[in-house]
Symmetry: C2
Subunit: 380 residues, 2 copies
């Protein structure tokens, strides 16, 4: 039974995907891809054996690896399998009244009474998540499960996890001198869900398990174009720009933004370098969805759930690695990544020393306004 | 002979000055006071015994002390006495083609080819300074001697120095927990010379020895109004604003500047708190000048110099003290002084980490622009 499922998955999706450009094997609905005003280039897709791969990762360039088999054992993780094997741990499930799931820091949100929380979060058993999904069929509310894998998972999931291609990721981790693997995040979201553009402070191998996602990435040198919230804000690291309705008045340099794009399907692994901006969009599948609840075995088990009750979802697993240590010697001009890090530290430090983040802007503007960038007109 | 000179000085100037408001004993020409567009209040003048004095100094408020006798032995320091007794050390003499002597850092100026030095500096014997002064009578060039007193001075000056009222300044230094006396600067400048507005990073007792000076001070919370050059600029700590011809286009907040003013004469000591802005203007004396060269003794010595050959000058001595240590606990909101210090450190740090001061403005603007001060209009 287990081996049959794996074969199915491989025949259906995994095999055709590897080594071939995504465009030739679309299994998603192209009409489900939102259109945006900025230019996009394609992120290169390549084999684990491609000689260009190491250089790209070394130089913090995004790349899709098509045949790493990183999460091969997870390709069978449909909802039925997960329900049966994830165990009785609790899972964070976010609800949104639109299709955007903008991350925010709960603790900071509590301290900031004027902040309107863009999503609500519940901690529920996995079976409750499936019940919540069913309800989404009859409402405009959407949900997104985002939970770090932990030791509550059942023995089959542990086995799958152990059979991930650790050899591949650990070799890269070691070559790049990255720090520890900090966590694996399991993401199960409805088709159409969007994780709005933000950056993370860790290296990320983004492994697609089931369904398709469109990933839009922006290099760290586009900090100016993407206007992140202040570091003290609950939405630290999140852009203030909504791609679907950009406010050019407030964010004029967003006109200069330019993305690189990858559509990832089951088995693809996208390297998202630290500090690279990314927006992740779950696409609609072109085929009817196989949650696993309507096959022979499931019916004979007396399940009261059928695939049609549940909206289609996509499944991904993040591999987050801590950054490599600072280089012994800083080379100039410093990299865009280092520049973002410097800016974050200044913001934090000034907020701390002034006793309030509200003072940061005034102080920094006072340093600059009328004092800098006037060298040519200087009088004595 | 020595005692007669001292009596003269005391009768002429010192006695009438102490304990009386300056306006009742003007010995300067009011027409020589430049007019400026900002409002001014008077700095309080008070006796060394005034119970308000300690509180003013403690809270970093400028005040004129009228009877401290701090530089009593120096009140006889006319040019002839100085020429005879200063010894054969070398003295920095600045030359300017106008009446402004804007300070700049020589080393930084060398490294900055686009910087036009506002003054030139020579290092000359004191007798050469007097020769230079004579030449100024026939030219528009002006000069200003500014030299830290050092161990090249002759024995009479050493005696005078030892008889300064160290008891008074040391008691304040100790009560305020100031650091060491870092230096005494001797200033001898032509009437009409202006030291343009700047701030220093030390506490200063500004002791007037001979002639009159108008001192304009601005509190450290007017940093925004006075637009100092970048910290990396040769004119660090100097305002870019020229009071006689303010460029409101470039420096719009200069309209909000408001000064406190003191006119100090021989024997007066002005406390200039650290980080307080100050512009110091040598006023024209109302009486003919007594450089000491035309009295009987001088002529009989065969001197080839007479007072009429030399333009009138003013003489002052600065007492600079290092600041008190940081308080154990920072209280909020932080003081204007601490804010200036924080800004200086951020400027320096960002310049250093970015590898160039040219990057400071861009980086700080990027932190602020479109990101801060929009909280009320924030969308998620
Ligand atoms: Zn992310
Ligand atoms: Zn000064």
């Amino acid at each position: 039974m287990k081996s049959r499922e794996m074969c199915d998955e491989q025949m259906l999706v995994e095999e055709p995907m590897s080594d071939s450009p995504i465009s030739m094997n679309q299994s998603y609905d192209p009409a489900s891809i939102p259109e945006y005003p900025f230019p996009m280039e394609q992120i290169p897709r390549m084999s684990i054996n491609d000689p260009r791969l190491q250089h790209l990762i070394e130089t913090s360039q995004p790349v899709v690896i098509t045949d790493s088999q990183l999460v091969q054992p997870a390709l069978k993780w449909n909802l039925r399998y997960l329900k049966s094997n994830l165990g009785d741990g609790l899972y964070y499930v976010y609800s949104s009244h639109n299709n955007r799931f903008k991350y925010f820091d709960k603790e900071r949100a509590k301290q900031c009474s004027s902040f309107k929380q863009p999503t609500t979060r519940k901690e529920v058993a996995f079976s409750d998540f499936i019940e919540m999904l069913k309800k989404c069929n009859e409402s405009t509310e959407r949900i997104y499960l985002q939970q770090t894998l932990n030791d509550t998972v059942g023995p089959n999931i542990v086995q799958d996890y152990l059979q991930f291609n650790w050899h591949f990721v650990s070799r890269i981790q070691s070559k790049m001198q990255w720090g520890d693997l900090s966590s694996n995040l399991l993401l199960i979201g409805q088709e159409g869900n969007i994780t709005p553009v933000h950056y993370d402070e860790q290296e990320n191998f983004f492994a697609q398990v089931s369904g398709f996602k469109r990933c839009l990435l922006f290099s760290p040198d586009q900090f100016e174009c993407l206007y992140p919230h202040p570091v003290s804000h609950p939405c630290d690291r999140q852009s203030q720009v909504n791609f679907s309705n950009p406010d050019y008045q407030r964010f004029p340099k967003f006109r200069d933004a330019h993305a690189v794009e990858a559509i990832v399907g089951p088995g693809d692994v996208l390297y998202i370098p630290m500090y690279w901006w990314h927006q992740i969009e779950s696409l609609a599948s072109a085929e009817p969805y196989d949650h696993g609840f309507t096959d022979d075995a499931a019916s004979s088990c007396g399940s009261d759930t059928s695939d049609e009750d549940i909206p289609p979802v996509t499944v991904s697993v993040n591999f987050w690695y801590r950054s490599s240590p600072l280089p012994q010697q800083i080379e100039y001009p410093i990299s865009a990544q280092q520049r973002v890090s410097v800016m974050r530290n200044i913001e934090k430090m000034v907020g701390a020393v002034m006793g309030s983040p509200d003072e940061v802007a005034n102080l920094l503007r006072t340093i600059v306004d009328g004092r800098y960038n006037m060298t040519s007109r200087e009088a004595t």
